[in-house]
Assembly symmetry: D2
Homo-oligomer: 376 residues x 4
């Protein structure tokens, strides 16, 4: 059954894939051991270094972001190692569970899902046994962005590795792997990089590489070493997801054309317009600290949000993000990341407002204040 017009995919990722990227993917596969492939490989590896802000290696996996989480752990840690993790939301919780399943001891800094990781509490939790600190940069489940540079500063000269999940921030929110001193940055294809899901990344510091030599968790698929070695010549030890790499090449070209700073500014502006709408509706943004507002998505507190999302999907063909984990049915999330512009946001906010009203919520006018922001 055809639904007229374009679906509004306003979950906080996967995001709208630009036509240019889809067309790039829609091309015949090539020999993954031939010269054309090598050129492709070197080109995307170089581009990713630019996106992550690093001069070190970036490892590409044909895997979802969850796979890159696992890779970050198994390459750097050993059974029983102690790590610190901050409860910033659903994805931080999932990453912690993975760490425990893989045999780590996690010091879990509980949180209210409305704040980012606390540099102070992390500093307090450090002891000689801590081998790594795991932080989610942008919590996709809450729209809260942790301050990674501050976390790094809080670690001082403690030898713990800093592992950061940027799945929903990379290419959307300012991020600097080298400058901020991160050891492993985990990224994914389906958010700011504007690709379908299916690729994920580890940007790796010297220190992390060094740690990987002693890390003893069993690993094979995720092992950095053979991948980094093969990458020298633009290849991979196993068959790459070539067509997604075509898309990655195009996505990087798009980011270069717009400029990363412009991309970040655009997202910040859309986030500000969205918060203006939330205020106009008389609702509350989940994030409470303005230093932690996310440029990628905005979560809005609303009891009974699932019914609103259902109405909006049915009536206006728009997908919004649900409340996850303990926030189920308590919030909805508006994604405004990826390949997105002012009028798409205006349509999005109009749809949210109509859906709230149709679902029986007596909300005010949020569209007009949002347009005021967009007009500036």
């Amino acid at each position: 059954m055809h639904r007229p017009g374009r679906h509004f995919l306003q979950i906080p990722g996967p995001t709208n894939v630009p036509d240019r990227v889809l067309r790039a993917i829609d091309a015949p596969t090539i020999d993954h051991r031939g010269p054309d492939f090598a050129q492709l490989g070197l080109e995307v590896l170089d581009g990713l270094r630019w996106v992550f802000g690093t001069e070190g290696p970036v490892v590409i996996y044909p895997a979802s972001g969850t796979g890159a989480w696992e890779a970050a752990i198994v390459n750097t840690l050993s059974p029983g190692d102690k790590v610190i993790a901050s409860e910033t939301g659903h994805f931080a919780t999932l990453w912690r569970e993975m760490a425990e399943r893989l045999g780590l001891e996690v010091v879990w800094l509980e949180g209210d899902w409305r704040h980012g990781a606390s540099p102070e509490r992390i500093a307090d939790a450090l002891d000689d046994d801590v081998r790594a600190v795991m932080v989610v940069h942008n919590e996709t489940s809450t729209g809260v962005t942790s301050r990674i540079a501050d976390v790094r500063a809080a670690l001082g000269d403690h030898p713990a590795l800093l592992l950061v999940d940027t799945i929903s921030s990379l290419g959307s929110i300012d991020y600097r792997h080298d400058e901020w001193g991160v050891d492993v940055t985990v990224g994914g294809s389906q958010k700011g990089l504007m690709l379908p899901a299916g690729l994920s990344f580890n940007a790796v510091s010297e220190k992390a590489l060094s740690a990987s030599r002693d890390a003893s968790l069993p690993r094979s698929y995720w092992d950095w070493k053979p991948i980094i070695a093969a990458n020298e010549a633009g290849f991979w030890p196993y068959t790459s997801a070539t067509n997604l790499l075509y898309g990655l090449r195009e996505a990087i070209a798009i980011l270069r054309e717009e400029g990363l700073d412009n991309v970040f500014a655009r997202h910040a502006r859309h986030a500000a317009a969205t918060r203006a709408a939330v205020q106009g509706w008389g609702l509350e943004v989940l994030a409470v600290d303005e230093r932690e507002f996310s440029g990628a998505l905005t979560a809005v507190l609303l009891d009974g949000s699932d019914e609103v999302r259902r109405v909006i999907l049915e009536r206006f063909d728009m997908s919004l993000g649900a409340g996850l984990g303990k926030l189920k049915d308590q919030i909805f999330r508006i994604g405004h990341l990826g390949d997105f512009n002012d009028l798409m946001l205006a349509g999005t906010l109009s749809g949210v407002q109509m859906g709230l009203q149709l679902a029986g919520h007596d909300v005010g006018d949020g569209v007009t204040p949002a347009l005021e922001v967009l007009k500036q």
Copy 2:
């Protein structure tokens, strides 16, 4: 230079081409004399009969709509023939000029570009020499829809042929070739049919076919006869624009899935919401007779509209229709036809409103009243 997000193509055609149609076009060309082609040919011819509301032949040209205008004339008329045409706007004027260039004598019923063709005035202008009446169903330059059934009734049993241009109404606004007694209906691919430009059509009545036997304007490319003969088996006398026919097949499938009545209702609803916005802005719709409001586009009176369109294109990446001919810079036109939905319209109207304000026009809030209509 990449512009983020999707361009808003809100000119009254060419319209947004659904991804399904673009993908259908993006397929290897086949032998235009082979069995697969024959099946394609028969399928699209059958589908077009359904779209036009006819059981007679529909002739497909690899040509723009202008070509199908010419075809309607050269197949049915002879040098010096007298025809009546109503000045409903820019395209009616262009069709008249074509008729004169091809050697016809045109009785030109002048108009103010704010009304449709007048059945009464056409009836008054009929005399024994009149061979045909030419009417534009939906004037793309003004957003005024002429009442074709009433025009037909006004002709009574006069033998003149009724030639109707439905280029911007077909598949957007209710139209019935057989039921309304039209002799030649001219259509195009790039509006309600949601295809790129490049195909155009003549739906042909028995009476028109009969007239074509005596019509003596020179014709070859446009000649119905060999085309209709070859169409029996699903072929054409010359190489068809096969890939556009792939798209046509998919577009017809989409129209069947939604249902033509639902398509017409959707467009009418969007037109009503747009007029509500215009009223909210304190501006005036060009069309004055509510029986003639167009479901496909809305033209808005505004002195200095070109600057507003420039601002909107630059700031919000949206294309609107300009004032054409004598309406240059006096109106702008909002297309809301084709593959379009509520949130795309909300984004469109938001963009118009912001653009008007940024260009210095002190307009009120049109978005809110439009959303009220869309919520119903």
Copy 3:
């Protein structure tokens, strides 16, 4: 029902459309009156001048090649004008019929469909009343290429216009509009330009432009004047087939990358390999004068060819060209133009050989001698 692997589309056009061109077509339509369109328009017009070998205007029609035939006539000639045409095959015959239907007097130089146009006979037929000479450069129905430069020389300083159909030679066989002194060159998109059908062209000399001012055949759609005027700024007077223009831009880029001379040489080489195969089979090429062998296709004499083509289509999923007109069932035609390479030709000739044998023709080995040519 899926047929495995790629169809071999070895008719002499439409040809295989490169993926790059299909993907270029598969892109959202843009405003045909906006700045992006103007850039597209200027770019393809410039590229076409290069392809035609002219510094004069090239007019693009959204039409099949037949339409561009008509355009060449109605822009330059008047009712009753006398023209010379050479019977080189089916398409020359169709063009002649068109000229007659449009009211010209055609001096028809009969031929055996195995030779090109004879410069000597054309010179002999010239008298003071002759207004134009019509020649098909590459007869798609026979695989015979007429020597246009020699025809031009034969005209001497006679004022007749030279109209040349290059539909199946443009971009496949050496052609030079300006250098050879042609007045109107007719081209199409679906052969050497590697596009789907739907665009056609007139390259126009100063002399033809001048003739168009006095030519009195009725014309509107095909009229050069408003098109050339609008083209100055990159636009057209009516809605262009924008998506096909995207494809044209990409096709021109492909031709520039390979280089026209390399393209011509590749086609000539494939034609030589094909003739070697024909000889190996013990069959006869239709063309008899080696100066007139076509680089675009090879026609092979074979009584009962339709059955062979049927077997080949059914068993090997390959389309070959049929004998047309008076050659029906007497020949088959192998297209080797467009986006084509050595191994595709080897597969093609293998399929022809197997099909001939399966249909009961006791032919020898043509593949091996063809491979000998390809190996050089």
Copy 4:
């Protein structure tokens, strides 16, 4: 730089992706937690069961085939477990290395890379400690197909699990997970399934599921349990590679249209024609046991094969498979799996023959005997 015509991708995978599959992938991403996705998920899971010949669960990973190897191991085995593996070639060797890296003890049945796994030797190696037998069904590095049903029979009622890699046989060579009593079948997207690389699979028996409850290798990303649970409703625990799933849906539709038996027969026929060509060239096929000839690829013994492959790539734009591991430069491999037909094979073999000759190998005519096979 454009290379004319289509590249011949005749490595034994990734294979040529049908246009229908590429177009299916080239579609907007949807909400991975919405109703449309659930339908997609259920549909591909159902289709995969059909392809694998199982009524049990099939787990889909966004990963290369190597990842599915790892999944088969970590879900069913514990550190120090003893497994038997047969040295059939390069990929069997890699899988063994992975098993050792993950902490298993591998009983390695050495082989000459020209034979499949020996049921007898496996039976002989079984003892009470053996927990699993790992076999590669079709060795992509050698073109030798092991007889899985015989291996299964040789295990008798020993409780060891049977793990089979079908990465290059699934959808190309007859395979029956349930009927043959396999416990974990590993598959990939980029061979017989005609997709780009990026998806891989585990088909899982009841016995394997049961074993997974006690298996203690650390696992998280690869863990079957949460995936199978989420699959009940058509979802996955993490973000799927949605666009590749679109392609998978289309690929399964294509396989259903042709019928798996027809697909297998087509591949077997192409393999026979290829072996006829090898014989004609006077060369030797690597596989020596005719019961083990692969339908998916044919490896040909040739000292100095890398130079031949280089010449073929440069001159004829065809990629062939290299000799891997200890066969480097000793063989070349011709892939004839996936979306492939008779004339593509004829072109392929022609290219190999010409390349051999151009590289200085004095080979005979292999194309003619191959065509004889194809004609039958």
